[in-house]
């Protein structure tokens, strides 16, 4: 065993001392931290793709073990009814689908996916877009099925979801192409017009025949036509829309400048005397179009990333028909009164009542209760909770808008609406600025008209161009884009740009306990053995008994003894709500809660932690061992709390879980202030109280029950492994699930505010300095154009320092 390697070769997490998952890569053995990473690394080696490890520049997410249940679920994607919404028929058997790839961290991931999928027989074309993390796959349905492709992607350690928002995507692509064409036109024209302008200026200084000058002017006019009538059209549209709405925006003076300058120049050209401004028109349009394009790109990137998280794939349910046949249907088609089947490990599709079956259900995401809740016939279940043990036959009582989940989402909508809209504020400021600008320009124009009518037109133009609030309007968005891409490279996804601004002011971080400070999964904490049983033997027995179980507790036993050979179990039985039993080497064992043993349990030592789950291992006569399991704390939790406190940030836990469990975690991490057993409404109330005290609160959460609180907080952070709703309602998503990233995000927020302030100061100082010179006629329009673009460039360069 290679003891030198203490971190996982695949994902770089620390390798637990007890773990031994070697994989031989390029002739050298390497240690992995878990079975998941081992499986992924082995797949990569087996397919001759080890180059991935040499090329990668960022680490992947933690490897997930592919369980047979998940693979079965993928088979549903082969169903023609379900494929209808996201698969296109290209030929008789050729099909094409768009997939969202989860877990892409660097270009090597793209390479890995493309190479591996192209090797599969039947896959015709694979194209992964690095910028959007989306893949377009064409395959021959006779040779390979979509489920197989999805499974292969999972084997590589990534997650793929069919993506159905094709129309929106197409619209975006078309708009992008249109923008690019406009920039191309403006770029080509401005280059040529500038050359001619240099000739004209030189001609004016050193003498040029009138006929030559006229020729050059006419030619410039022709070159400017496509810019004015095609490239600059978006400015007119935006300005017109603003005027229709009785508002003023930046595009009003822009349009005035472009149209005015063009009419003036064309008139001068036709008359044969006067000043022309073709160079200024084309350059101005080019610079504005380019900066808008860059800004759009940054916005679209964050929208796309957020869409990827929402997993727009159809949600499915299994409907049980009268004859007993199973039929996979989209959740949207479910009606009240339908009978559906929830298999173990599946999320329940609708609010329903159990009619048959017995199981436990994980409602942690909805209620914050971290322990499984037993369900039997006649009991209600909530949509979105996860069935753990046995199959449940359910009668649907609420779908769509009538579910508890939908209610929480409505609560969330309200909280979102209450959020201050910083973007609107910025718009208003720009509006006021424009009004001031237009009035000023009118005054300057009138003054010059009175003093010297011949100069007035050029000066009005120079004022309009030089004071164009480009730098001002770029000051914030460029910073958001640069900081966003910096954070994304570290696995922190910024879904709303303005969150950065708030992030810098955060002085109070609130955690939901389950799934954020802790893993949200039970971990074996302690083993108490009785009679002649030793710890290792008892764990081996327990793990063997749990082999076939889907219960989350089973996983914690199995991961504990992973690597050792389990013993064979006869007559294995799953007793929902109680535990498991089976015979090993002729002895009958039971593993489960105290009631399962069937006799008076032994007394336990008094120092066991409160609130932890206890699992009893018994044979037919006596108790052999008791296992104490509780939710495991994430290793970085204590360090993060220490860092936050050192930075003067307060830390609080607001949890829906029981008081003793919360107190335990609070003590472990050193958090003094905590509240437990809160419902989503209570959490929101507690949060509002903090905010009324004047605190700027960052909320870290992962469950559906956190969604309203996440939306109500000044800035919200969701864990990448959390629920969709939580991620959708948060400003920041921690894709790596590394808690220390929270501190990094806070620091980046502060740095970006500094840069943003510099940008604003620069833009305002520039405008104030340039305005008087333009107003007294010392800046010709072409110089104003250069000044405008230089000031914007300075702003962009300054923002790029954040990357």
């Amino acid at each position: 065993m290679n003891t030198a390697e203490t971190s996982c070769y695949h994902c770089a997490l620390p390798v637990p001392a007890s773990a031994h998952y070697p994989v031989t890569i390029e002739g050298k053995p390497h240690e992995m931290c878990c079975r998941g990473c081992q499986a992924v690394a082995q797949t990569i080696v087996d397919n001759g793709l080890t180059d991935y490890y040499r090329h990668r520049t960022a680490l992947p997410g933690v490897g997930h073990e592919v369980v047979p249940e998940e693979v079965q679920k993928l088979a549903l994607y082969d169903h023609p009814g379900i494929q209808k919404s996201f698969v296109r028929q290209e030929g008789e058997h050729v099909r094409e689908a768009s997939l969202i790839l989860e877990g892409i961290t660097c270009a090597a991931c793209i390479w890995l996916n493309e190479r591996h999928l192209k090797q599969l027989p039947g896959v015709l074309q694979v194209q992964v877009n690095y910028a959007t993390h989306r893949a377009r796959i064409t395959w021959d349905d006779q040779a390979i099925h979509l489920s197989k492709i999805l499974e292969e992607i999972q084997l590589l350690g990534y997650n793929a979801h069919p993506f159905s928002a094709e129309r929106q995507e197409n619209l975006r692509r078309k708009r992008r192409a249109k923008d690019l064409r406009r920039i191309a036109i403006a770029g080509l024209s401005s280059g040529q017009v500038m050359m001619l302008a240099v000739a004209l200026y030189a001609g004016a200084a050193f003498g040029m025949e009138d006929s030559t000058a006229a020729l050059l002017r006419y030619f410039s006019l022709v070159l400017t036509l496509p810019v004015v009538f095609y490239a600059a059209v978006p400015f007119y549209q935006s300005a017109w829309n603003a005027l229709l709405g009785k508002r003023l925006n930046m595009d009003v003076p822009v349009s005035l400048a472009v149209i005015g300058a063009f009419i003036g120049s064309a008139w001068a050209t036709l008359q044969g005397h006067g000043v022309v401004y073709y160079d200024a028109i084309t350059m101005f349009s080019l610079f504005l179009l380019s900066s808008r394009f860059l800004e759009h790109g940054a916005q679209e990137k964050s929208v796309e990333a957020a869409e990827n998280l929402l997993k727009l794939a159809p949600a499915m349910a299994t409907r049980v028909l009268d004859g007993g046949q199973h039929q996979p249907v989209p959740v949207l088609e479910l009606n009240e009164g339908d009978t559906i089947l929830a298999k173990p490990g599946e999320a329940i599709a609708a609010d329903a009542e159990v009619i048959e079956g017995e199981s436990t259900v994980d409602e942690a995401l909805l209620t914050g209760e971290s322990r499984p809740v037993p369900k039997r016939a006649g009991v209600r279940v909530i949509a979105g909770s996860i069935n753990l043990e046995g199959p449940l036959w359910l009668r649907v009582t609420g779908v769509g808008e009538n579910t508890v989940l939908a209610g929480i989402v409505r609560l969330l909508d309200r909280a979102v609406a209450e959020k201050p809209r910083l973007a609107q504020l910025a718009d208003q400021v720009a509006g006021h600025f424009t009004v001031g600008l237009l009035i000023l320009t009118a005054i300057v124009g009138a003054a010059w008209w009175w003093l010297e009518p011949g100069q007035a037109f050029g000066i009005v133009l120079a004022v309009l161009v030089v004071t164009c609030p480009c730098a001002l309007s770029l000051a914030a968005p460029t910073v958001f884009a640069a900081a966003g891409s910096h954070l994304l490279r570290h696995g922190i996804l910024l879904t709303r740009g303005h969150a950065l601004e708030t992030l810098a002011k955060v002085n109070h971080v609130v955690f939901d306990k389950t799934g954020t400070l802790t893993y949200g999964k039970p971990v074996l904490q302690r083993t108490v053995t009785f009679s002649d049983m030793d710890e290792e033997r008892s764990l081996l027995l327990a793990a063997s008994l749990e082999q076939a179980s889907e219960h989350p507790l089973a996983q914690s036993f199995l991961s504990r003894v992973a690597g050792t050979d389990l013993v064979a179990v006869q007559e294995a039985q799953n007793l929902p709500g109680k535990g498991v039993s089976g015979s090993i080497a002729g002895v009958r064992y039971s593993l489960g809660n105290a009631a399962l043993a069937g006799f008076e349990p032994v007394a336990l030592p008094g120092d066991l932690p409160e609130g932890a789950t206890r699992v009893w291992l018994c044979d037919e006569r006596r108790t052999l061992a008791v296992f104490v399991l509780s939710d495991g704390l994430r290793p970085q939790a204590g360090e993060l709390v220490g860092q936050l406190k050192a930075a003067g940030v307060q830390v609080t836990i607001l949890s829906g879980d029981a008081a003793d469990a919360v107190a335990h975690v609070a003590a472990e991490t050193g958090i003094e202030s905590w509240q437990a057993a809160l419902r989503p409404e209570d959490k929101l109330k507690a949060l509002r109280e903090l905010q009324q005290r004047g605190d700027v609160v960052a909320m870290v959460g992962d469950g559906v029950n956190d969604a309203p609180v996440l939306a109500g907080a000044d800035v919200s952070i969701a864990m990448g492994g959390g629920t969709q709703v939580a991620r959708a309602s948060s400003d920041i998503v921690l894709l790596t699930e590394n808690l220390l990233d929270i501190q990094r995000a806070l620091q980046t927020g502060q740095a970006s505010i500094t840069v943003m302030r510099q940008n604003f100061v620069w833009a305002i100082v520039y405008n104030l300095l340039a305005l008087p010179f333009a107003a007294v006629g010392m800046i010709p329009p072409w110089l104003a154009s250069i000044g405008m673009s230089t000031s914007s460039l300075v702003v962009v360069m300054n923002a790029l320092r954040l990357r």
């Binding site: 070769y9 890569i25 390029e26 002739g27 050298k28 180059d51 490890y53 040499r54 090329h55 270009a107 090597a108 793209i110 390479w111 992964v128 877009n129 690095y130 910028a131 959007t132 692509r173 992008r176 192409a177 690019l180 064409r181 191309a184 036109i185 080509l188 024209s189 040529q192 025949e209 006929s211 030559t212 020729l215 050059l216 030619f219 070159l223």
Partner: protein
Amino acid sequence: MTEILIFLLGLTVIMIVAAGIGIFWAIKNGQFEDMEGPAQRILMDDDDPRIPRYSNSKSKQ
């Protein structure tokens, strides 16, 4: 003087139109859709097995 200018300006028009058509074609072909991927992709060698390498060479990580 004016004749040669007209000739050169005409040439310019042809070149601009050619450049414009080229760019429009590239946009239509989706060459601007992924601005980062292709630049990185070229660094990944497909011909690796043909490059001799010592089997005991130390890996980089």
